[in-house]
Symmetry: C2
């Protein structure tokens, strides 16, 4: 938890922005409750709601708050421990003292928020809320607002049309620009993420079961942080993006994609990807593609600077990769035309990067367009560019991932060939020898600085093919 003035300042700023937009009424915030895994009292590790953490800092379940947008009055709702709780859970500070520790003087029992919001609705005051991520929060917000749970829950990337746009705009604009205290935490999360990836790299040996490496990595994340910032991707089928089964042994001659990050104890994320040759040496074919991706990662980093739209960084990076693929005769024709026709999407169906902060895909549930696109930017429908989560013109304090990749996805290649999507620009015959290639992705986390960009974390994880091979050989 930061100093209470951090939270006081954020809430004041939020209120001012909403007032400036002419918003009235009250804003409600529902912190997360415990989430059962096996049965009700056997829960997953508690994870607080990210905007709750941002505005209120209190990392305890079953808290709620109201903020009066007009008067600025703020109230925390939660229940104090009773004697039974003290016997089983030990002595705990009072809700009033916890509220005071984040600069809020008024607190009340949890059930009280129902009455406060009911009164506000009687007075026809506006009720502002953020999209709910979890079922419980949706049910609670629905109860308070009179809407249905389905109407207040986020549809993920699409966000939630009933949520308060004034509140969303204020919170998004603040969370997009990281404060110094946040950058410090994210640097720490990145250093721990690099430590985790180093443990992983040392574990890459033919015959080892993938799950062993995953467990060793996640142990590092848990020993010094909250855990992993998302389900670890560790796969010899890098062309499958969401592969969470790890029962395979490491076999020689493959590429192992490891995409993983840490969430720090303060709940800031890191997110790195490296792609290793399972036998310690890239084949000639692997090295050619690897070098294109490695150059793309560097190219994107060099373009990252205030005022530049990350959409343009994406497009320029894709252009560079297509140029490299053309030199290998995997695509043919004019590179600019290829970019325009979206040919890059066949090889990189995802975007160059996303915002990162308290969520690894920062604020994804608030609607990707609201978070990642400027008002004048329209989202593409092309495969690849259409998946770009962060397109905005960059500002100092933005934190984005730089994660180009090249994949050979048999189902997609077959589909494009059948549909003629490539307009004659893909050399399908040459692709035949890549059908078992897998994929390569290389990812760093990047802070936009006043004069450019800085890669976050400590010493950079080896990334050039020579450095990777050298690191693997020496270990």
């Amino acid at each position: 938890m930061f100093d209470k003035n951090v939270y006081i300042g954020r809430r004041r700023h939020m209120i001012e922005m909403m007032q400036a937009e002419g918003a009235t009424g009250i804003a409600i915030f529902i912190g997360n409750v415990e989430s059962p895994a096996q049965y009700r009292d056997n829960c997953y590790k508690f994870r607080q709601d990210s905007s709750w953490l941002y505005l209120f800092g209190i990392d305890e379940p079953r808290y709620a708050a109201t903020i009066d947008i007009e008067s600025g009055e703020q109230t925390i709702y939660a229940d104090d421990a009773d004697l039974d709780d003290i016997i089983w859970n030990g002595p705990t500070p009072s809700v009033a003292s916890i509220a005071a520790s984040v600069g809020i003087e008024k607190s009340a029992p949890y059930a009280e928020i129902d009455k406060v919001v009911a009164r506000a609705r009687e007075l026809k005051r506006e009720i502002h809320f953020l999209p709910a991520t979890r079922q419980y929060n949706a049910m609670k917000i629905a109860d308070l607002t009179g809407l249905k749970p389905a109407e207040v829950v986020s549809a993920s990337k699409a966000g939630c049309p009933n949520a308060s746009e004034a509140l969303l705009r204020a919170v998004i604009s603040m969370r997009l620009v990281k404060e110094d205290v946040e950058i410090e935490e994210i640097d720490k999360a990145c250093i721990l993420g690099q430590e985790m990836h180093t443990v992983a790299r040392r574990g890459v040996k033919v015959g080892t079961i993938e799950q062993q490496i995953v467990g060793d990595m996640e142990g590092v994340a848990l020993s010094k942080g909250w855990g992993v910032s998302f389900a670890t991707i560790l796969t010899q089928h890098g062309e499958v993006f969401h592969c969470h089964s790890h029962e395979m042994p490491i076999v020689p001659g493959k590429l192992l994609v490891i995409d993983a990050g840490v969430e720090s104890n303060s709940h800031y994320a890191s997110d790195f990807t490296r792609t290793y040759p399972t036998g310690g040496k890239y084949t000639q074919q692997q090295r050619e593609i690897y070098q294109i991706v490695c150059d793309a990662n560097e190219h994107a980093f060099k373009l990252t600077a205030p005022g530049v739209a990350y959409r343009d960084v994406h497009l320029s990076t894709v252009r560079g990769m297509l140029k490299g693929l053309k030199e290998l005769d995997l695509v043919r024709g004019d590179v600019d035309e290829m970019v325009h026709e979206g040919i890059g999407g066949l090889f990189m169906p995802h975007g160059l990067g996303h915002n990162m902060g308290l969520d690894v895909h920062d604020m994804e549930d608030y609607g990707e367009n609201l978070v990642g696109y400027d008002a004048d930017q329209e989202r593409s429908k092309q495969l690849g560019l259409g998946s770009l989560r962060m397109a905005r013109r960059l500002e100092p304090g933005n934190i984005v991932t730089d994660e180009p990749g090249i994949y050979f996805i048999p189902a997609l290649i077959r589909q494009w060939k059948a549909d003629g999507t490539d307009k004659g620009m893909v050399n399908y015959d040459a692709l035949e020898s890549y059908m078992d290639f897998g994929g390569i992705r290389l990812e760093d986390d990047v802070l936009v600085t006043p004069d450019g960009a800085r890669r976050l974390g400590g010493k950079r994880l080896p990334i050039s093919p020579d450095d990777v091979e050298a690191a693997m050989t020496s270990e």
Copy 2:
């Protein structure tokens, strides 16, 4: 996943038991869906519902099933992957083939269950369901049955009065008696749990941050299993039962309670507790209490056998511990009277043990009395005995934990002293020097065999004070 005949046999047995009770209609089963952690598409590691795993084995989200209790007809409901899914998630087997792999020939899209249950309700057929643990399942069952979510969700230990008792009785009676294939899995989970505890013991060094040990332990659980079977308890305040903060460094002279278990990849649990002297040697005071708990663990194990009520094992074990505490002049008077008056609850407010299987507290959400008490056993209201989760007369195939403990809980001692709850049998003056003691718990997992009991897992974790000290010194 076991051979399909295991699941076919279980479902047949369940139907027969329900038919024998005169049940009619259909039973509905709602498998778990993904559970969001930070935002909707960033989920906790998927955990399937335990009874779903038991009856259907399919370890994938968003599955449902119906079983016609009269005709025996069984249907699986889930959605096949579309081309988009295949591009992002790789090729997956069809729902029909997954259903067939657990012996069910009929499958339909997920939405179809709504129509099937609606038809059954039109025909006034009975709809059987198990208590819902998670909010999504509660909402789905509520939609299907016309009840409210709050009416179908489990109130944890109290269970859910609207759930089908015929279905509950059948499932509980089956899951209480473990099959050989299950015992094999639980033995594996125990071996991995012991490996995890060994890593933990080696990490106990003055100055180490508790979280480091927790991370190292959980890494073992993840590297060969699904993860931990519950939130790891690792605390120098063993008298606080639910202590999940681990930021303290290990300090000399304390007792470190480590209560942790593994959930195997097949989702069977283990659960062990050991209590270590943080500096490697127990003090005289610690050793005296430790020996009482260690003897209690052994005493309980020796009494564990078919036909014996675990309630009686609890009481006899508490009696032994009170006898030991009397020798230290911490309690005074007649030991049998102390047992009768529940004086043991001051030192051990929890029960001796619980059932263990696919859940570490097996089936806790089905109602502790229904699961852990025979029809003729009434639950005590005394502190300690009242918390006993497993009281039943034991049968071969039962798996229970044997986990006596002694704690010195200042808030509870003060309360008893103020209220005179001890009826003059507690020597509060002598307890003064134990106010900073903490607590000790020693736990093994035990299978009831035809002629007694067997401790599960491999080589037993060191437990006698001499063995523990020797292990810590040699490491």
